[in-house]
């Protein structure tokens, strides 16, 4: 039975949106794409598709504010993300290819520190509940380097849940997940969308979720 930590924040009260205008991305000496427009609002999700090396990851990094575009602007709730980065980052969770977990710390420690660094106050019980939801009961106190690759990705699912961000930018989130974990992630994302959140994802494969829009690079 799925347990919710608390009522998920009703994000549709303040509809949010991310809008990108005429984005141009240059990596090294190659221009990956120019004049790209993109928009996602509360309750929607985007699937960014394209061949290897075409710039999907670069696009996600641009949208999250890690890199600056060569041209174009990005607006969060109609405000430039560079105007108030702290506010934008409060509402954003970016997960890239790397696990972003400290190998020497336990899953529990990783999550409690990550949320503390992001300024979110959570009790240990809430974190444990999230870990248990994703099948990590009994593994919470093991150092992360003792977990399998799939289990590490499940810890990240717990992070998605606990972070309470409106916009999820996920780079190849279904990689290294077994069938059960793929179901869990899809369920999680759909819950998030249903309560007014947004997601932008890349994936080589078809994403097993309905009602997404495709951005083809």
């Amino acid at each position: 039975m799925t347990t919710h930590i608390s009522e998920p924040p009703n994000l549709s009260l303040n509809p949010s949106s991310l809008r990108a205008n005429a984005l141009t991305c240059v990596r090294g000496e190659r221009t990956l794409f120019t004049g790209l427009d993109l928009e996602v609002s509360a309750g929607e999700w985007l699937h960014v598709r394209g061949e290897n090396g075409i710039g999907k990851t670069s696009l996600l990094r641009l949208l999250s504010g890690l890199t600056k575009p060569a041209a174009g602007e990005i607006f969060w709730n109609e405000q430039l993300i560079s105007a108030d980065p702290s506010e934008y980052h409060r509402n954003l969770l970016f997960l890239g290819h790397r696990d972003s977990l400290k190998e020497d710390l336990t899953a529990l420690e990783n999550l409690s520190i990550a949320t503390a660094l992001d300024g979110i106050a959570l009790t240990e019980d809430e974190i444990l509940l999230a870990l248990h939801r994703f099948g990590l009961r009994g593994r919470e106190d093991l150092p992360v380097n003792c977990l399998s690759a799939g289990q590490k990705r499940r810890v990240l699912l717990a992070r998605l849940l606990l972070r309470q961000a409106k916009l999820w930018i996920l780079d190849e989130p279904f990689n290294a997940l077994d069938v059960r974990a793929v179901e869990m992630l899809s369920e999680l994302i759909l819950e998030h969308i249903a309560s007014g959140g947004m997601a932008i994802m890349t994936s080589h494969q078809e994403i097993p979720m309905p009602n997404g829009r495709v951005v083809q690079l």
């Binding site: 999250s64 504010g65 890690l66 890199t67 600056k68 702290s86 506010e87 980052h89 409060r90 954003l92 970016f94 890239g96 290819h97 790397r98 696990d99 972003s100 977990l101 400290k102 190998e103 020497d104 710390l105 420690e109 520190i113 990550a114 503390a116 660094l117 992001d118 300024g119 150092p143």
Partner: protein, 221 residues
């Protein structure tokens, strides 16, 4: 503020899980200072004269060794990126990491130095100056060194390049720190040295975190 403490707590926790990384730095300090009498001779008058320089230069080199681990692991596993995307200002988190680095690397060096000083036959008041100058100086070394560590993240030849970049910037700290110990040992006034060290510390506290944060962002881009 709580994020600042959280990052310090995290880095200290990580060090506790891998104590060897830090202990090797302290062993390096002890071993290298012992090399000098072996290389130069055990004449106590000579040792007393070279002690300020030897202790300080070895403290510099030991801090340099510890700098490489300041950002490198976080950069490699993606947590540095997450810090840059945190609502907490990156400068605060970077400052916390530098503080943790000092607690783990600089503070033990300052506390260990008097033991080395005894090997060099320094008297009690000079030993006191050794501890005090290192307590003020090692934070400066961590702060300035962090800039170099951030600039060389993920760069080929990182460790040696870091030394080339940072050691010239360490020279004022070395001069005032070792100078204070030397002055104390010959009975001269040390007040001026302390003021200058203090001034360097204040300057470093104000400017180094910003330069480091800018360098981290450049490395992550």
């Amino acid at each position: 503020m709580s994020a600042f403490l959280a990052i310090i707590r995290r880095d200290l926790l990580l060090v506790m899980r891998r104590k060897s990384e830090v202990l090797t730095i302290l062993f390096f300090f002890v071993i290298v200072t012992s090399l000098f009498p072996l290389g130069i001779g055990a004449d106590t008058a000579l040792l007393r004269k070279i002690a300020p320089g030897v202790i300080w230069v070895t403290a510099l080199l030991s801090t340099m060794l510890g700098l490489q681990r300041l950002f490198a692991t976080d950069f490699a596993d993606g947590t540095l990126e997450q810090m840059a995307l945190s609502p907490t200002p990156l400068a605060l988190l970077v400052g916390g990491k530098i503080a943790a680095h000092w607690l783990v690397c600089g503070l033990p060096l300052a506390l260990l130095a008097p033991v080395i000083g005894i090997q060099f036959d320094l008297d009690a008041s000079t030993l006191g100056t050794v501890i005090l100058t290192l307590l003020i100086g090692t934070p400066i070394l961590s702060l300035i060194g962090a800039i170099g560590a951030a600039l060389t993240l993920g760069v080929r030849g990182g460790g040696v390049l870091l030394s080339l970049l940072v050691l010239p910037l360490y020279i004022p700290v070395l001069i005032f720190g070792a100078g204070a110990v030397y002055a104390q040992s010959v009975g001269l006034d040390v007040g001026g040295h302390y003021s200058l060290l203090g001034a360097l510390l204040v300057l470093a506290l104000f400017f180094a975190p910003w330069a480091t944060t800018a360098a981290v962002r450049i490395a992550i881009e």
